[in-house]
Symmetry: C2
Subunit: 105 residues, 2 copies
Amino acid sequence: MDLQHPAVAELDLAAVLFALSDPARLAIVRQIATPALVSTCQSVGMDMPKSTRSHHLKVLREAGITFAVPRGRERVLTLRRDDLESRWPGLLPAVLVEQPTVSSV
Amino acid sequence: MDLQHPAVAELDLAAVLFALSDPARLAIVRQIATPALVSTCQSVGMDMPKSTRSHHLKVLREAGITFAVPRGRERVLTLRRDDLESRWPGLLPAVLVEQPTVSSV
DNA sequence: CAGATTGTTCCAAGAGAGTCGAACTCTTTG
DNA sequence: CAAAGAGTTCGACTCTCTTGGAACAATCTG
């Protein structure tokens, strides 16, 4: 059960974009991005079954978007902000921008 | 055969990321992004059958990434840089950054 | 108008992705 | 050691996406 995180040089843009292109995963990423909030595998995406959540977390991890560090029997999730920033500057911040609600004026 | 381009307010981040997450479409976007080069539906992605190309261009257009203007019997393709920039600042430039080749040093 | 060019649409086949229950591993705790 | 908690993996189902040939629509040209 070794956690495999791709190296920075191995990151693939298409894979990163694909991982972020799913609404459920995008929501998870936004939760992890929330400061002053320690995310674990089960603290995010609590609206879905754990097998589904585990699947999405795997996609994010293998794309190089998240980092999972075991702590006790859980895993602390963080975003690989610096790695992503060094590879595609501005990409992650752009995606994390709060979406403006469509107002009628 | 009316070309439907979504309005800026209707742009969906997940849809945009999904459209960009395909290597073939990403290559097409990079070609269209090339300055001093007028792109048309058949000048891009010449390595694939035209029905496949048409499909990818439709995905990009409906996601709001490209704009197609009829000119004679062809269509001139442009990127909706300003629209995307106003919605997710920095996103498109980040994606268009030239990928560094993985060198062994 | 006939023919060539540009691009779309339709259809079918194959591959891929999302969902989720059930069984499993690993770790902490009593 | 037994039980509970956190995550993963497996398998099956469904749905979507990609691909590409063939037929079609629209436009320019001779």
